[in-house]
Symmetry: C2
Subunit: 111 residues, 2 copies
Amino acid sequence: MTNPLDQVFAALADPTRRAILAMLLEDDMAVTDVAEPFAMSLAAISKHLQILAEAGLIAQEKRGRVKWCKLEPDALRAASVWMQGFGVFDPVDLDAFERFLADELADPSSP
Amino acid sequence: MTNPLDQVFAALADPTRRAILAMLLEDDMAVTDVAEPFAMSLAAISKHLQILAEAGLIAQEKRGRVKWCKLEPDALRAASVWMQGFGVFDPVDLDAFERFLADELADPSSP
DNA sequence: GGTAAGGTCAACCATATGGTTGAATATGAA
DNA sequence: TTCATATTCAACCATATGGTTGACCTTACC
């Protein structure tokens, strides 16, 4: 899975990871805080964050003993371009996006 | 993996499947013809097509003994909306898309 | 009818994925 | 120093994924 599109799409295929990205849309967060709403171990979240980082979707910076996670939406660009090539898409429908966020953040612990 | 976004993104995470979608952008195709450029068994391609169909990205219709595959770009809409929520994306960059297609179709047999 | 073409199914295999736990490593605070 | 917090590592487990092969069904053709 060397192809960056492979990595980005695979990263996005997991609901936990999409929920994490949505959370980071609000603000940068420490690993522990990212993990808090999820019903899974910190180690599991740490792995998800690694996958997101390898796909370039987040950046992680360690400051002191806490590691901060920051959204890197630019990594979505290539995937977005790929998809746009197929369609006929409406101009950005932010309402629809808000609905997604609501759904995915509602109960991220049961993906 | 009940969530439709899960299915769509997972389907897109495989280079063979993305190449198939790109091929279908040109025209509807029979399963055998879809399989032709790939260095893998017909059965493998058949499975990929099932995954694409379950994600709603293609429709399959059997006419006579040949099964036709047809692109269903609408299935990309939800995923596209999700991604658009993160960005700041340029207006559709078709040149970039053409480059992707060129890359992915160049040698789909070695994903 | 017999035979070939188009696809799928079933069983199998190797590897990847998503999770767990417990131990280990920093770093900060008392 | 000692202790607690923040995070990762390593080993493990169950299941999913992407591929193979060979048998199978259906539909066309001679």
